[in-house]
Symmetry: C2
Subunit: 551 residues, 2 copies
Amino acid sequence: MFVPTLMGQCTPEQQAYWLPRALDMQIIGTYAQTELGHGTFIRGLETTATYDPETETFVMNSPTLTSYKWWAGGLAKTVNYCIVVAQLYTKGVCHGTHPFIVQIRDEETHMPRPGVKVGDIGPKLGFNTADNGYLGFDNYRIPRDNMMMKNAQVLKDGTYVKVARHGKATYGTMVFVRVLLVNEAAFNLAKACTIAVRYSAIRRQCSPDSEGSELQVLDYSTQQHKLFICIATAHALQLNSTWLWKTFSDTLAAIKQGNVDTLPELHALSSCLKALSTADAASLIEQCRHACGGHGYMMSSGLPYLYAFVTATRTYEGDYTILLLQTARFLVKAYEQVEAGKPLTPTVSYLSQAFTGKKLPWDSSPDGIIRAFQALAAGKLSSTVKSLRKRLESGLSYEQAWELSTIQLNGAAEAHCRAVMSQNYKSEIERLTVNSSPNVKLVLQQLYKVYLYYWALERTGDLLLYTSISESDIFELQLRYEGLLKEIRPNAVGIVDAFDLRDEVLHSALGSYDGNVYERLMAEAQKSPLNAEPVNQTFHTYLKPMMKGKL
Amino acid sequence: MFVPTLMGQCTPEQQAYWLPRALDMQIIGTYAQTELGHGTFIRGLETTATYDPETETFVMNSPTLTSYKWWAGGLAKTVNYCIVVAQLYTKGVCHGTHPFIVQIRDEETHMPRPGVKVGDIGPKLGFNTADNGYLGFDNYRIPRDNMMMKNAQVLKDGTYVKVARHGKATYGTMVFVRVLLVNEAAFNLAKACTIAVRYSAIRRQCSPDSEGSELQVLDYSTQQHKLFICIATAHALQLNSTWLWKTFSDTLAAIKQGNVDTLPELHALSSCLKALSTADAASLIEQCRHACGGHGYMMSSGLPYLYAFVTATRTYEGDYTILLLQTARFLVKAYEQVEAGKPLTPTVSYLSQAFTGKKLPWDSSPDGIIRAFQALAAGKLSSTVKSLRKRLESGLSYEQAWELSTIQLNGAAEAHCRAVMSQNYKSEIERLTVNSSPNVKLVLQQLYKVYLYYWALERTGDLLLYTSISESDIFELQLRYEGLLKEIRPNAVGIVDAFDLRDEVLHSALGSYDGNVYERLMAEAQKSPLNAEPVNQTFHTYLKPMMKGKL
């Protein structure tokens, strides 16, 4: 975030000074926004930068414990520079949060500079190589030039000058990071699938009859049910990340032409895709771990690290719940546009269905299921808007009515995102396999069908409300889903091999290409420091005295 | 497990020798059953104990890498005795698995005895104080007397004599451990709730209008939606554990009277209650962590430890999927009993509904919702049996048809268990609050309503299939659920305080009674070894040379 923020928030002159040093690694930096007491709500940040025209410096302060910066990666022991987001005060007026380049450590000795309090925030779930730190200031001065002045300036005399529309300027970086996170979710889920599917082909358990040899656990329906949705989701997330990247590039190009019309849609899409991708990937990685039984619990399986890494992305750069609510706000506006007879942007054009008042005729083809997901999203949104208006009619303010409806709003945003993801998954597969062999097409289609059937069967309640699906249709879909798992089974190992993840990348005793699961588990166990000596000193100190009744 | 197994599997003479030494801590033991390559399927264990009449000893061997014992707690560095489950061979015949008391370390020096290979299995997800070990044997001899002979004996000449019905004898210990696990799930979920609810009363975020101060996050509907189901579930699990304990005691008493009729039902109940309790507790503890944002990720929050501890219980002592399938087997038998006009045991008596062919009239009272959950369980079981029979008709064997239907069978077992848990939750609350104040009753009723509404709204698909619930009924239930959250809000902190968990037990910077969240987070951070020196040696070794372009 240090370099992208330098690029996005500095004037050309500032860039010319800072960028070469940062890219050359002469200085190492990080981006510190979140504080101990403040995350999502940027307006609530407490760190202050007060301009002093006498010395032409900003005086940085952390007025409270909760104002300490917290979490920034690399901050604890590594970086010597930091982009600090602080409330800007000049001439006694607060102008809101602005970014400042702050040197926190001496370039030669690496000692924290006087007035800078910096350190490690302590151990976290799995994620202990990120060097997350805290940072506080006690009347620490930085030159006026260190304010990042692309969007706003403080002149030498302390006059505040707004240059660009503040706010939208940071959109680019934010959406860019979300695209990366969707991509990362896909990549890590693919790793977890590879580990769990390969292990399930090695691991054997029980035999259906009393005499036969034990089956590969991958032969069991329940195991296929746990794992094949993970493979399909890894594909879905990867393709949605590609699609989001393309949409992002198109929007950037349009903005350069002065057209910002597609920006709200991009923001709504990147919000919900980031939310759903990271949440789905995290819960499915955990499902992969469960599918590996006890051995999935070993750190040497690699799975606990993957889970810890991905579950963090569910929270940072916009928490799951908050991001879905941002998408919901866009959807409610879109709903009002339909009511007003105004045209809709492409990803919400299906919302016109919300007004037919009729159930969508059920059609179990992939396109039919995608239309059903859209009908379901439209139906849920419509029902949510009904709740919202009922509350407004009862005399509540819009904010109050909105707050009381947030559970339903999140449900509507999730349904919208699922419909978008399903549509993109299918259309990207079709686009990319135009020249593929029929066999490749078949396998990829089997996987997106697994995705569609799985989510249809998870959402039968909504389907029954908003489509004409019947009990026998559901029963039939369940049987088709179960049949599909058996069709995928013979190719399952080949499909995860196709992710082409080297053993060094997987770093898993369970998932290596050679399948030597048990040899690797034992070899990893031997590395435990506890195995360095046959009898631990604690035996003599504690155990033996206790056993001899002398404690 | 060492002492209970000694009590359950030894003859009185053996008990007289071993128990006093174990209870006195003169020896420390563990129970080693699971092997590197074998978990659930006990018949597949590979460790052998071969009787040699010449020396009147058993020769213990680990013929393969996969036969190494793996996971037993305390084994790695602590215990000097071990109950080892091994395939018994005598006179050239294998008599299946039996338990043996094996001395693995010298009582004086603690050195592993010659022929014993024992060590640590390496780091696991969170759970690194359990001293889990591995154990292998190379022609290691133990006296004949060390076979635990309550249920089967090997005479001096090697003759094998079966004493008791093998198998059912171990039922008691197994069910006992499951009761403990349900109880433990409740206790740990209560800890997580306490942490997350208290923190949510301290943490503030955003304000509904632009001028107001930031709200406590506990005031947000989405936060209440995440957390209040956790409190209700902690109550539900605690009360179901009490109920299961009582059912267990009644069954034991009946067995002593020679009546084993209720044993299958107890087995089916303890299986699904263990499965659902540990799975619900683990996922809701993780939901509590998510509800704490970034700080829930700090180890000092205590939440990652709680999750690691409870997610393990989902797998050990019977994996989630396997245990639900055991319940499903009981349910299918019960279904056949209804068809045959035979009477049913109490917890499945509702299954007679599966044959009415009519939808249950929807009634949104608590009793009505519980009846709906039963109708839903009966309907799902009926639909599953239909799948099973369709597959049998197509010519598959029973084992094949069963295997193909396991996804649905698990769904039916989960629905059954949810109905049982809901019923027990409500009736135990009523039983325990007969003499309580109206206010206490009110609060406890609000919580079980949260549980019932929450699960009804999660299962609208099944409710629409098996009850007469309509779209407007669902809409109405959603609004009632949202209203209930607001009713509980003022008492939420008081309700978790009532779990009466001391700060020393919670061990959480976020959850302490005094609410000094930020002070404690900072104090915990200061304990990080990285904060012991202002500049880490790695700066001089790696960072500085890199920054000076000399790497």
